[in-house]
């Protein structure tokens, strides 16, 4: 199994074998965390530019740590999204970054498809760290990794994703990844936050968590944003909480070994209550740790040369 891609733009176009290779590679990367010297020289001399057009701490730090543990040099560039619409074109920006010698550009952008716009135009490897409502492949990979680590498999599991599916790149990447590896996916949320055509992606849609909770092996709770109220998609955060907020009582009928996940940052008391987030079934902190390992694996696999004549 080889990994011959230049970029990681999403999981929609990856094969199950490619996803599995990333997950297996991440296992070895995670082993490094137990060493006293947590850094390996693999990407010495390589430069990773982390270009974020949206504020984010978790993902940015995770990528930065991943790159540093592989000995790459990292540069952070943050640009506010307001400057995107009118300022320098993103194509010019990344061409400049490429000219400065970036081997990788890790990009987060509020507009779906922004990484695709630049991927054909430059030779640096592009890693999508979240584009609009489209994909967030490394988050889904770390979710898959975390599920596999906890459950030993993905195939055959029933995974529920609760919340704002329409606006969620995490949900989309998770749907592709989970389906490719053989899981069953259930989307749970209000109809205003689930795309009309969601079921054409091969998932099942529920408007009530109670109707499906007892079947689920894993529940992935998405962050709900206040703007949804302004867009008339929700009457209020409190009403959302009263119907979809994941609380202990709502989990009464769930399996004892239900795995509880959240991509963070959490709104405690809105989409999830503290007793649930802090329960022994929650693997939310382990997800964060796994994120570094998965991102190291992605950097490692994309960095390889394309010539296999070896001595």
């Amino acid at each position: 199994m080889r990994f011959e891609r230049k970029d990681l733009l999403g999981l929609e176009n990856l094969t199950a074998d490619e996803i599995n290779l990333i997950l297996e590679t991440a296992v070895s990367m995670k082993e490094l965390f137990t060493r006293s010297v947590k850094k390996v020289p693999t990407l010495r001399g390589k430069t990773v530019v982390i270009l974020f057009y949206e504020p984010s701490t978790r993902t940015r730090v995770s990528f930065e740590l991943a790159a540093k543990r592989l000995s790459a040099d990292t540069v952070n560039i943050s640009s506010s999204s307001s400057s995107v619409a009118k300022g320098e074109s993103i194509i010019d920006t990344v061409k400049t970054i490429e000219a400065l010698g970036a081997d990788f550009i890790v990009i987060r952008h509020p507009s779906s498809g922004a990484p695709h716009l630049i991927s054909n135009r430059i030779s640096s490897s592009i890693i999508n760290a979240g584009d609009g409502m489209h994909e967030h492949p490394t988050q889904a990979l770390l979710d898959l990794f975390s599920i596999k680590e906890k459950k030993g498999r993905i195939a055959g599991l029933k995974v529920g994703i609760v919340g704002d599916i329409s606006h969620s790149r995490v949900a989309r990447s998770n749907i592709w990844g989970l389906k490719k590896l053989g899981a069953e996916v259930f989307l749970i949320g209000p109809p205003t936050l689930i795309p009309r055509d969601a079921e054409t992606l091969g998932v099942k849609v529920y408007y009530r968590l109670e109707k499906i909770i007892k079947k689920l092996d894993v529940i992935n709770i998405l962050r709900i944003q206040r703007e949804r109220q302004k867009d008339q998609l929700l009457p209020s955060m409190e009403e959302y909480n009263s119907i979809f907020g994941v609380s202990l009582s709502r989990l009464e009928k769930a399996r004892n070994d239900l795995v509880i996940m959240h991509p963070g940052p959490m709104n405690r008391g809105i989409e999830v209550t503290s007793p649930v987030a802090d329960s022994k079934n929650a693997i939310i902190n382990e997800q964060v740790k796994n994120g570094v390992a998965v991102r190291m694996a992605v950097l490692y696999l994309l960095a390889g040369g394309k010539n296999e004549n070896i001595a």
Binding site: R2, T25, V40, T42, L301, A303, G304, G305, E308, A311
Partner: protein, 175 residues
Amino acid sequence: MERIMTKNEMVRVLKRLTAEIMEDTSGGKNICLIGIRSMGVHLAEMLKNEIRKSEKKAPPVGILDVSLYRDDFSRRLPRRIKETVIDFDIEGKDVVLVDDVIWTGRTIRAALDELIDFGRPNRVWLCVLIDRGGRELPVQPDFIGKKIEAEKNQWIEVKIEKGKAEVFLTTEGRK
């Protein structure tokens, strides 16, 4: 494809290597074995069994995957990497690195770098089954199973599986 070592030969070679190691490490009192993935791992296990037979006591065995320390990384497709497993402290130990074939010496260079990240051994020895010459770095094994002269386009393959243990020399490039 030419067979250059049979199972019987390999068993004899391993016995001799065991003896040499024991002699040079004062009976192996302070040693540990570390096999380099992938074939070095099998050989380290076989050596351990030999040592257990002769000394009634087996040294700890670790596994190194040197993929992340290689210097040819960006020139080839990344290989499937596996974990490095060293669940004992190598600080102050006499470490015997074990690999199947030594050629350019680059793998051993990577292995030494990785090993050092785990601690400061008292001494590091190198044991290989086959030395095929062709060194590109000043790295020399301390214990050698067999020396052969191989051409650049030749490939040495050590096969150890399900009771089989043989070494072959092939002349077409590896796929």
